[in-house]
């Protein structure tokens, strides 16, 4: 569904990404983790079409969007993106925000779609409110509904849980995963928080200095880290206190999710 081939990117003189390969099959939730400045957000923006890579190929679905002399602008790609700050339009109601990408549809159809999306994200009845009247969690759900409105092929999420209340984060993370799975949408998440990645993703990539150092499932990464650096990053610097223990005990992914965190 998503295929990146040797994507390279640099700001005027400093390289950010150097030949990134990545592929995600339909319906998978992938996550990219890595320290800040490793280029993961840039990669997300390249997939969305907000940055133009200097070289490499990028395909979404069956369509090549970058490469072979082809370049398809962000506006024309069927990609939904949820920004870290949600980037809701502050002067528009919830309804207008969600309708924004589908204004061309007939009124009837549009309203039905908004209703469906709102009930999907459990915000039924909030159509007339403005973003500043909503809580952080509600804002995030509006952002997701808006990103889904145009029925994108893939969904990109930048630090989906980092702006949320720490207490609610776990619960909302579970809700989010359930939602994404029920939609069956291919999703790529970017986060600096390993715990978030363990919780949400099927497959995880660890990024260092503009490259994906290792890509695999949770078990893969914890049991067979390809370098000491990855082992160190996967285990340390985590908000998940018991992860180290999990690694040691080689517990399964599912088991971990069922265990309450400290």
């Amino acid at each position: 569904m998503l295929k990146l081939d040797a994507i390279s990117f640099a700001y005027s003189d400093s390289p950010v990404l150097s030949g990134v390969d990545l592929s995600l099959t339909a319906g998978t939730i992938g996550a990219l983790i890595g320290p800040s400045g490793c280029g993961k957000t840039t990669l997300l923006r390249i997939i969305a079409g907000l940055e133009i890579p200097q070289s490499g190929q990028l395909a979404i679905g069956d369509q090549t969007v970058v490469g072979d002399g082809i370049y398809i602008a962000a506006e024309k790609r069927k990609v939904g993106m949820v920004f870290q700050s949600y980037a809701l339009f502050p002067h528009m109601t919830v309804q207008a925000n969600i309708e924004f990408p589908i204004q061309r549809l007939p009124v009837q159809e549009r309203q039905t779609r908004v209703k469906e999306l709102l009930s999907l994200v459990q915000l039924t009845g909030q159509e007339k409110r403005y973003p500043h009247q909503l809580s952080g969690g509600q804002q995030q759900r509006v952002a997701i509904a808006r990103a889904l409105a145009q029925q994108p092929d893939i969904l990109l999420m930048d630090e989906p849980l980092s702006n949320l209340d720490a207490k609610l984060r776990d619960q909302l993370g579970q809700d989010l995963k359930k939602l994404l799975k029920s939609l069956g949408i291919t999703t790529l998440i970017v986060t600096h928080d390993q715990h978030e990645a363990w919780q949400l993703a099927d497959e995880i990539g660890v990024m260092f200095d503009g490259n994906i150092a290792q890509w695999g499932t949770f078990d893969n990464l914890t049991q067979h880290p390809s370098s000491p650096k990855i082992r160190q990053f996967v285990m340390a610097n985590s908000t998940c206190d018991i992860c180290g223990q999990i690694v040691a005990d080689t517990h399964s992914h599912a088991q971990m999710l069922n265990k309450p965190t400290a």
């Binding site: 923006r45 079409g49 907000l50 962000a74 993106m81 870290q84 339009f89 502050p90 002067h91 500043h132």
Partner: protein, 530 residues
């Protein structure tokens, strides 16, 4: 194709900067020749006392406008009292009064031959003569016309304060005073500085007010070398020094610009409804301020108007319409250009272009006549170039088009300053989000960028309107024949020291300038605690 788009943006931006800063940079060419005896004379006799005077004026007016501006903004933001809703808006209206008009009104009232001192001497012959033409007088007059810039911009900053931050400090046992200076003041600092920069630029540029008070500043020296020594070159050299000061000022202001992004989720701080003694005191302070800045001067002008020959009003109809027409056209043009610049700039992805921005603001800090003449010289070069090389005869000097361009050079800074805030408050990701949602440039502009920045554009439009109505030197030198404005009518009489005859056009000018300000006035917030 993508590269060429970036190039095009750079070219537009650079072109705009060159066009606006061009005439001013042109002044630098005058350093080719140096009138050594004149420079020697200036340095020996004027230079340092005048610099000292300019510094006194900057410090004094800076202090005066800060106390008035921040103080009044605080009172109208924090408290509700008799007339507070009206005062919140009305306190910016003194901006409609040209500083030199305020100057001759206050001199008319307070000078030795004015009613105030005449009365004093009649009652107590011993008081003698009090010198009203004192440095303090200039500071007084200029503070009362310029404080609205500080008031306006600090008040905007106040209204974005977050109650919870203050509550945290209060719970931590901070005193009220400490909360203000350690917590609130740092948060409103960017607004205060932006206002102060405008005040200082106007102060540097002023010539009319200081000469009424016989207070010589650096700007006086510029006029003197040009008008009395007839050395345009030396005047241009002095102006370029002033330009350097202005540039440093703008650079400093830009550096200390806010990096605090205001959280749209912040809880507003409820104002307090005052009662009893406090209500009386705060009302008294605010009404006295408005009285001093606006009501007393207007009453004096009305009084003089009745003494003036009766035919005056009729001769003001055409100038009135000219003022309005020029103001509306200029405000439109300037706002569009400033808006384009802000639009290109707000992503701040191009540090080279970012550095061009202060250049486009210099026109506001130079004496009006200097701007007018450098614009004139600039135009004549453009005209000659077009005529000699492209065989196109274009007349800019003495046409409305030329006049509008001169206003653009002079007031661009004011318009872009007004736009900065609303662009800064627009999150970049909002635009990116719209792109990923399939919106093309036009849809993004129409539905996202424009609605979010419209208040800033409107502010720029109205503020420039008022300034153009007040503008004199460029209008005087570059206007088409017969295009008298109200400011010109005022000048015609004040030039001959005939204040009484100047009163009616001045009054009409103030009323005209007040209208856009009233539309744009700050409004009282709705949150009130009993």
């Amino acid at each position: 194709m993508i590269v060429s788009k970036k190039l095009a943006i750079r070219m537009i931006q650079t072109g705009l900067a060159i066009f606006i800063a061009g005439p001013l940079l042109y002044l630098l060419l005058y350093w080719w020749t140096l009138d050594v005896p004149l420079w020697q004379h200036i340095i020996e006799n004027q230079f340092f006392p005048l610099i000292r005077n300019s510094i006194i004026l900057l410090v004094g007016v800076g202090f005066g406008t800060s106390v008035l501006g921040v103080g009044l903004a605080w009172l109208t933001y924090r408290y509700r009292f008799t007339g507070s809703a009206f005062l919140t808006g009305a306190l910016i209206l003194p901006l409609a009064i040209p500083a030199y008009v305020q100057g001759f009104i206050y001199l008319g009232i307070l000078d030795v031959s004015g009613p105030f001192q005449t009365y004093l001497r009649a009652m107590w012959p011993d008081v003698g003569f009090i010198n009203a033409r004192h440095p303090f007088g200039v500071i007084w007059v200029m503070s009362w016309v310029l404080y609205p810039y500080v008031y306006l911009l600090t008040r905007q900053a106040f209204s974005k304060l977050d109650r919870s931050q203050i509550e945290v400090a209060r719970l931590a046992g901070f005193s009220k005073r400490r909360i203000f200076f350690k917590l609130i003041f740092p948060m409103i600092r960017p607004g205060w500085l932006a206002g102060l920069t405008l005040v200082w630029m106007e102060t540097l540029a002023d010539f009319g007010t200081v000469s009424l008070f016989g207070f010589s500043t650096f700007t006086t020296a510029i006029y003197k070398t040009w008008f009395d020594f007839y050395s345009l070159a030396t005047a241009a050299q002095l102006s370029s020094l002033l330009m350097l000061v202005a540039f440093l000022l703008l650079w400093w202001e830009k550096r200390s610009e806010s990096h605090i992004r205001h959280d749209s989720n912040s809880t507003p701080w409820a104002a307090q409804r005052l009662t009893g003694k406090h209500r009386f005191l705060v009302s008294l302070v605010c009404w006295t301020a408005l009285g001093t800045a606006l009501i007393v001067p207007v009453i004096q002008l009305v009084y003089w108007s009745f003494q003036a020959p009766a035919h005056t009003l009729q001769t003001l109809i055409d100038p009135f319409w000219n003022s309005v027409l020029l103001a509306v056209m200029a405000a439109g043009v300037i706002t569009v250009f400033a808006y384009i610049q802000s639009l290109i700039n707000y992503r701040r992805t191009d540090p080279v272009l970012d550095r061009l921005v202060p250049l486009t603001k210099l026109g506001y800090a130079l004496p009006g006549t200097v701007v007018a003449v450098s614009t004139l010289l600039w135009f004549s070069h453009i005209e000659t170039f077009l005529s000699d090389w492209l065989h196109i005869e274009v007349y800019l000097t003495g046409t409305v088009l030329g006049l509008l361009l001169a206003y653009l050079i002079r007031f661009f800074s004011l318009a872009s300053q007004s736009l900065v805030d609303s662009f800064a408050r627009m999150e970049l990701s909002v635009n990116d989000a719209a792109r990923t949602l399939g919106a093309g440039p036009w849809k993004r502009f129409r539905q996202i960028v424009w609605p979010l920045t419209r208040p800033g554009a409107l502010a720029a439009l109205l503020l420039v309107c008022t300034e153009v109505i007040k503008e004199l030197p460029a209008t005087l030198l570059l206007r088409p024949f017969g295009w008298d404005t109200l400011a010109l009518k005022v000048y015609q009489w004040t030039n001959e020291a005939m204040w009484v005859n100047a009163a009616m056009p001045a009054l009409l000018l103030i009323i005209t300038g007040t209208l856009p300000l009233w539309l744009f006035r700050p409004r009282e917030e709705k949150n009130v605690k009993a």
